[in-house]
């Protein structure tokens, strides 16, 4: 007789076997956590925007930009460097994946790296 009984009303077992909390307390915990989640989401949305920073790799400093999803970059002021010519922005420091400021849209926070060629 015991076995079917166990199947219909599962006892607290597994990771919860030592849980000692009343349903009422747990309800409060859940509501508080949900409120916290909503606050975090609201804060995140309000402060929304991806930070695009520029690593000029030895050139003059370029200010970072905050862009929304799917937006183009505002044309950044081009950096200068003694003895070198600016050769575009790249997604990697090695300069293999180019970033076209006219067509590529922002989808995450990122850093763009300047590429230089010798004059």
């Amino acid at each position: 007789m015991e076995e079917p009984n166990q199947q219909t009303t599962p006892q607290l077992r597994g990771l919860y076997s030592k849980v000692k909390i009343s349903v009422r307390t747990l309800n409060i915990v859940i509501v508080v956590l949900i409120a916290l989640l909503i606050v975090c989401m609201a804060y995140g949305i309000k402060k929304g925007g991806f930070r695009v920073s520029f690593d000029t790799q030895g050139g003059t400093v370029v200010e970072s930009q905050i862009r929304m999803y799917g937006e183009l970059l505002e044309n950044p002021t081009l950096p200068t460097r003694e003895g070198f010519e600016f050769d575009g922005w790249y997604l990697d420091p090695g300069g293999t994946v180019p970033w076209d400021t006219d067509t590529d849209t922002v989808t995450e926070s990122m850093t763009l790296y300047a590429k230089w060629k010798e004059k």
Partner: protein, 357 residues
């Protein structure tokens, strides 16, 4: 007389039911709180950013869900055993690195290589590699009776060390592996079919199909095989399963080996999907997978869970994070949100069984 009695009973039932009703409503609201939040968030996001509900975005969500499904299917089994597996992400990283190092056109890790081996050989190698890590996990859990948290924490570190050493091999010097062969890339990310839209067409990648096949395979394993039934029996009550003749150790080891193979397939898909692999590939994947499983009703109480639940869990989590990305929520904040979601999902999961008790 009899009618009066029935009326009195009805009255009592009504009074009781109004009380019960509020209790039922609270139960309903709290037990489904996660789904309610996600639905509300989706409504809000689609009002703010209409592109979120457009076809390209929907296909994007489905593809990303497909990419993250195999790892969740693997971890689901470990959670059914009341355990977990935090080595999953690193196994994904290791297998992605192995795939990317072999199926390449640059031969940085193995400078002596002159051509890439057949894809099927590489797939077998990484499945064996993933299975081996799973074997170590499963053996330690089953035979040493260590908690899976501790076991998989140690294998996580060991696998990470192996990845770093592997990437230092040859002339690679720890750098990101890229330059994958066209055959490998097109096998995974090639177009399965494309849906025409007003402004061109949206391609559905092939790995969506592979994920569907894996879901069907895992559904059969969980529901139609003796191994699957044993897994649920061990998860709900190890002693009872042992008494009724289930080989508990063998079942635990097999669940972890199967999970390891699933991570390996995730790594194989991920290498081609991202078109590169490095030491950070797969980082924190296990957090997403565990969260998805718990949201999908795979309970830490043990012995409870369904494949359909896992699919829904992964999909919901992907929807909310794609949506937050559309609202340009900072990645740092996403970590906090993810953590809170796991905590809430566990609390709700616990509540369901507290109430039943």
């Amino acid at each position: 007389m009899a009618e009066n009695k029935i009326k009195a009973k009805e009255q009592a039932f009504k009074e009781l039911s109004s009380k019960e009703k509020t209790k039922k409503i609270t139960d309903l609201l709290l037990n489904n709180a996660m789904y309610i939040i996600i639905v509300l968030a989706v409504i809000y996001i689609s009002i703010k950013v209409p592109a979120f509900l457009k076809l390209p975005s929907i296909v994007n969500v489905i593809s990303l869900t497909a990419a993250k499904l195999p790892i969740a299917l693997g971890i689901g089994g470990c959670i059914v055993l009341t355990g977990t597996d935090i080595s999953a992400g690193r196994v994904v990283g290791l297998t992605a690195c192995i795939s990317a190092s072999l199926l390449t056109t640059t031969y940085k890790v193995f400078p002596d290589m002159t051509s890439a081996p057949p894809i099927i050989v590489v797939l077998l190698i990484i499945i064996v590699a993933g299975g081996l890590v799973g074997l170590v996990n499963g053996f330690s859990v089953a035979k040493f009776k260590l908690h899976p948290f501790i076991v998989t924490l140690s294998t996580q570190l060991i696998v990470y060390g192996i990845i770093l050493m592997y990437l230092m091999r040859g002339t690679n010097n720890g750098q990101t592996l890229s330059g994958l062969t066209d055959g490998y890339r097109s096998l995974i990310t090639g177009t399965l079919f494309s849906i025409p839209t007003a402004t061109g067409s949206v391609a559905v990648p092939k790995y969506v199909l592979y994920s569907i096949i894996l879901v069907i395979l895992m559904w059969v394993i969980w529901n139609k095989t003796t191994f699957g039934k044993n897994m649920f029996a061990v998860g709900s009550n190890e002693e009872a399963a042992n008494v009724s003749g289930v080989n508990v150790s063998k079942t635990i080891i097999m669940v972890f080996v199967l999970a390891g193979m699933m991570y390996a397939i995730t790594g194989f898909l991920d290498g081609a999907r991202i078109a590169s692999a490095n030491a950070n590939t797969g980082l924190n994947y296990e957090c997403d997978a565990i969260a998805a499983c718990v949201i999908g009703g795979v309970s830490f109480v043990g012995g409870i869970g369904r494949i359909s639940g896992i699919v829904v869990g992964v999909l919901l989590l992907q929807i909310i994070f794609t949506g937050l990305n559309f609202l340009a929520v900072d990645a740092n904040m996403l970590y906090i949100i993810k953590g809170l979601i796991i905590l809430i999902a566990c609390a709700i999961d616990m509540r369901k069984y507290l109430v039943k008790k």
